[in-house]
Each structure stands twice: as structure tokens, then as C-alpha cells.
């Protein structure tokens, strides 16, 4: 797959990520009120209705193949988007097992996992892969277990080690982050990697959140939303590529705002890793252009109110300050009949 992509010119990815009516209907719109506050906002994962983004622990959608091909390109240009410290090998197998088990059970038309003791056969029909390997023996896989499976699983995947009463960012694959960097945050503790977030430290949000996360049990994963905005249908907005996308924020006009500005929603799913006792931090990212979003006037109305009430520190942190008013003006005409 990699060599083929390397020799071909980059496909027009933005086109491939356009949302169908189905994708819009199941978009994880994150706002339940008209103002935005930092809260831990955790709910149980995988409890959604059939077809919803949260029906299963790990959601895949119509962008699966495009996202995996884009991921391969990003990794080719910057192999450090996958990193793992040496003590994380058991966590890696945990993540591999969790993804394979859940994908095979939840999407049997695309994936299957057959186990004969430690001899496992994994089939991924969407990417045309079939591999037999020995669970627990990294020599039987073409890559490290987390590297192998995260290249086949939508969203970014971070494995946290739990020790010393804290959570440590010690392994992961991060090709589609919202302005952060795996290489920069590697080895940091929970409060260290949340360092740049304004207002929330003072409110004690992170301390409370960490206590909560440390008590997640393997049988009961939790999920939360995070959101920001991105200019263009651009998945890779990592700190490493800021030079390529940062400038886009200055290009928003009333004419292009609907097409260019995207609401970027992360559905973060947090299962306890059963064998290593670590915590998995899955970040499943969804992008929707404002043009797509306003097909639902209730969302347009609510997003406008959220942006109007957003404290300036948070708008700055999310990089929205330059074009926030342009977005509000664009959303203004969409009324859902609610006061």
C-alpha cells in the first residue's frame, strides 16, 4: 500500500473527505447548551443508537479508507507521528487486541479475527490485508503492535501508562491532532500535557478529571467531546506542520467562510487497558464545513450562540479569534425557530 501511494501523485484528499447526507446526519454535534464551559463532560461510551457515531466504542465511517491512506502519507513524511517508550509494549498489545476484538465484533462485514490460542489471524477487507501472527510476539508482525493496528484504525490512538497516581503519555500514533504534537508531549504527565489550556487549571478541572480517569474500569469506557475549528478540510493540523496551515486563518472572508471553515469535533473514548492497566485515549476526529453544518438550522443557531459567548482566552487558544465574527455573521440568518 505504501509504495503504491509513494509513486502516485497525492490524491485530492479534500474531495474524498466531503460528507454525505448520512455523515452529516450522524455528525457528533457537541453542544448541548448555548454557552461553552470547560467541564469534564464524561459520559459512558458506546451507548448510542444504531448507526450513531457512538453506537460502538470505536466508530468507523465512510472516510475510513481515505483516512487510512492519508495517515500512511503523513507517516511517510514524518515517521515520528508514531512513538512508543520501551515499557509500553504490553500496552501496545492491549490496544491491538481491543481494536481487533471490537472491529471484528462491531463491523463483521469488514473485519475478522480468528484465534487459535496465541496464533491469531486478522483480516481487514477494507484495506485488503490478511495477517497471521503470534499474540505477544512482536517479531511476528511487520511493525510494532500499536504501529501496525493504528494504521488500520480511524482516529488517533494514545496509550497512557498509569503509575505514581498519574497518567503518562508514553506511546501513540497521532497524525490528525488539533494543534498539538506527540513528539512534544511524549513522556509528559496529565497536567503537563494540558499545560497550555487556559482557565481550566484554576478551576481544578484537570485534577478532578484525572481522579476520574484513574478509576475507569476495563468494562466501562467513557467518552467526552472536544472541539475547535479548522480552515480547509485539513486533517493534519499538528504543531509540526503549523507552517503549512497556520496562515490559512488569515484567509477567511464572508464569501469563502461557509466552504472553508470547518467545525472540528473530537469524540474521545477512554477505555482502561485490561492487561497492562494503562488507559487508552482514542481521539476520533470529525470535520464538517459550515455549509454542511447549516443544513441543520438548530446546529447553526447553537454554534452561533456558543461562539458569541466564548471567552476571549479560549477563542485565542483555539485559534479562532481572527475569523470568529465572520463565522457568527455567516450563521446569523439560520434560525431554528427557537428563542
Amino acid at each position: 500500500m505504501n509504495s503504491e501511494l509513494a509513486s502516485a501523485p497525492p490524491p485530492p484528499m479534500a474531495e474524498r473527505f466531503r460528507n454525505s447526507a448520512v455523515a452529516i446526519a450522524r455528525f457528533p454535534f457537541p453542544f448541548t447548551g448555548d454557552s461553552y464551559e470547560y467541564t469534564v463532560n464524561l459520559v459512558k461510551a458506546g451507548q448510542g443508537a444504531p448507526g450513531a457515531f457512538d453506537e460502538h466504542w470505536f466508530d468507523i465511517d465512510e472516510h475510513y479508507v481515505a483516512e487510512m491512506e492519508l495517515r500512511a502519507l503523513v507517516l511517510e513524511q514524518d515517521p515520528d507521528r508514531y512513538l512508543s517508550l520501551p515499557h509500553m509494549i504490553e500496552h501496545q498489545w492491549d490496544v491491538l487486541e481491543l481494536i481487533m476484538e471490537h472491529y471484528a465484533a462491531d463491523y463483521p462485514e469488514h473485519f475478522s479475527l480468528t484465534r487459535d490460542g496465541d496464533l491469531w489471524t486478522w483480516e481487514n477487507r477494507l484495506l485488503g490485508l490478511r495477517d497471521t501472527f503470534t499474540f505477544g510476539d512482536p517479531r511476528t508482525l511487520p511493525r510494532e503492535p500499536l504501529d501496525y493496528i493504528a494504521r488500520q484504525a480511524q482516529g488517533d490512538w494514545v496509550a497512557l501508562d498509569v503509575r505514581d497516581g498519574d497518567l503518562w503519555l508514553d506511546a501513540g500514533m497521532l497524525t490528525f491532532p488539533a494543534d498539538w504534537s506527540l513528539k512534544f508531549d511524549m513522556g509528559m504527565s496529565f497536567e503537563e500535557w494540558h499545560g497550555p489550556v487556559p482557565m481550566a487549571h484554576e478551576a481544578g478541572v484537570f485534577k478532578r478529571a484525572k481522579q476520574f480517569l484513574l478509576r475507569i474500569t476495563p468494562e466501562e469506557p467513557w467518552q467526552r467531546f472536544n472541539w475547535t475549528m479548522t480552515v480547509g478540510r485539513r486533517w493534519d493540523t499538528s504543531s509540526e506542520t503549523y507552517d503549512q496551515w497556520g496562515i490559512d486563518r488569515t484567509t477567511i472572508t464572508p464569501e469563502n467562510v461557509g466552504e472553508k471553515v470547518h467545525l472540528r469535533v473530537e469524540v474521545q473514548v477512554l477505555p482502561r487497558l485490561p492487561r497492562s492497566n494503562g488507559l487508552l485515549f482514542q481521539i476520533r476526529t470529525y470535520l464538517i464545513s459550515l455549509e454542511e453544518l447549516v443544513t441543520n438550522p438548530a446546529w447553526a443557531n447553537r454554534l452561533r450562540r456558543v461562539l458569541q459567548s466564548l471567552p476571549p482566552e479560549i477563542a485565542d487558544y483555539k485559534g479562532l479569534s481572527r475569523y470568529r465574527q465572520t463565522v457568527i455573521d455567516f450563521l446569523e440568518p439560520y434560525e431554528d425557530g427557537q428563542p
Binding site: 500496552h91 501508562d161 481522579q211 476495563p218 485490561p274 492487561r275 492497566n277
Partner: protein
Amino acid sequence: MTAQPVRVGRVEELTPGVRRFTLVPERGALPAFSGGSHIGVMLPDAGAARRNSYSLTSSPYERSFFQIAVKREPASRGGSAYLHESVREGSRLEIAAPVNQFPLANTGRHHLLIAGGIGITPFLSQIESLQRWGHSFELHDCYRGAENAPFLAELRERLGPRFHGYDTSRGARPDLVALLRAQVTGAHVYVCGPAGLIDAVVAAARTLGWPRHHVHFERFSAGPQAPTRPFVARLARSGQDVSVSGGSSLLDALDAAGHAVPYSCRIGGCGTCEVAVIEGEVDHRDHCWTDEDRAGDRRILACISRAKNGHLVLDL
């Protein structure tokens, strides 16, 4: 927390006081778990569902059965007596999924395991992990006579020179300070057993300047407690007053009053049953929080802590 039905496949009398129960799933596989995990076993206790925790002694890589080893406690609160007297091969039980409050530190350069009596149980699954991943470790096992040490022969054979036994009925005891002093930098120590042994290891580690997070322990019971006086907890949202008698815990009193709070260990070790306190002074009796945690937050662990001055107002 959901309960999973299991069937008791086998009951073995390992020693006169200790029975091993093999639990098999009614269907499918059991969940994967990490070394040091325990399960909750539901016990019919005066009509109310109630759960006791037991360390899993089987391999974390075995998903077709779980094993627990239960010592009959002379002062049983009902759990061990029930399992010893009423549970037979073929009995059906309900268990809560594994939880680990005694995990191995993956970054440890060497793992020093110290067990006292039935405190050997969480180490059995940890040893499986340590051996599988090739970590450096040693086990020091204190027992009162070989006839009371259910896993002694098996461990001796399996661990060879990594096993160190101390028959306390013959006066043998580990020199804890010397043992901890001999460890490499970056070692972690884990202790499970009677309160006296845990306290001695913690004290030795402190004397030698070990980092707090390199010292791990798991207790079976809350240990000796100060006298328990009755108090009243007012539930702020409903205004209801819940009386907690001297012989009862806040957790049980809330449960009886229809306010079930999630819990796990019931001995103030895990923090699951935390409740926010609006008013009143808390008599903290847990060994879960540091003084810093207690000072900054108005919370109580309902399973063990109490009111200092007769009343509390809870955010419930």
C-alpha cells in the same frame, strides 16, 4: 457495575483454612485482566446484595476460568464463611469484573514482592505477568508453618532462587531494612499481608528515603480503627436525614436509605465511593488520599470515613 454469572467449576481445600474456587463463565470468555487485579463476589447478606473483593490467583492470560483463594476468617463479616460453607462445585455465583488497585509499575527496574500469609494471592497473577514480560523480580513470602502456606511448594519450584520463604512459626523473618537497602535504584516494592507487615515495609522504605510512588501495598482490611460514633448525614438535594449508627458505615446507611453509591474495596483503599461534602468536618479514615488531597477538597470516602462532630451535609 454489571455482574457476570459464573459457575463454580471446582472447590479445592488447599490448607485447612484456605479454599480455592475455580469460576467458569456461563458462556463466552471472561475478561482479560492485569496482574494484581481482584474481582467482586456477590454475597447474599441478609437479603441485600453485597460484594466482597478477592484477588485473582489465576493467570491474566487465561480467559476460560478465574481462580480465587479464600481464607476463612475467624471474624468473618459473612463473606469467607459463606464461601466456605455454602458454595459447592456447581454453585452459581455472580462476580463483578476485575479491577486493579495493586498494579505493577511498568517502569520498575526490579520488583520486590513481599507477602504475608494469604497476602500471597495478588502476587500469583503478578508473577505471571513479570515472567511473561521478562522483568526482574524476587518474592519474599512469610507464612506460619508450611501446612498453612497453600502455594509454597508451587512457588518454590516455579521461582527457584527468586523465592525466599520465612516460616514465622520458627521465628524466621525478613530483615526489611537490609532487604530494601540491598535493592537497585529504580526498584519498586510491593507488600500485601497483615497490617503490621505493611506498616513495617512502609516504615523501612521511608527510613531509607524511597520515593513514595515506589512503595505499593494492598490491605485486606481497614486495620484497627478509632471508635465509631453515630452521626447524621443530611442529603442536601432532598433534605433527607440519614442516620449512621456506630456499627454501620455511611456507605451502608446511604444504601439502606435508597442512595446507592458505587464502591469497590470497602476499606478506604480505592476512592470509588467518594461523595462531595457541603458542610461538616470529615474524620478521614481512608488510606487512599494524601493529607494534601484531604486539605484541598471537601469529599468523603463513604465506606470508611465518618463525621467528626456528629453531622455532615452531603451533595446528594
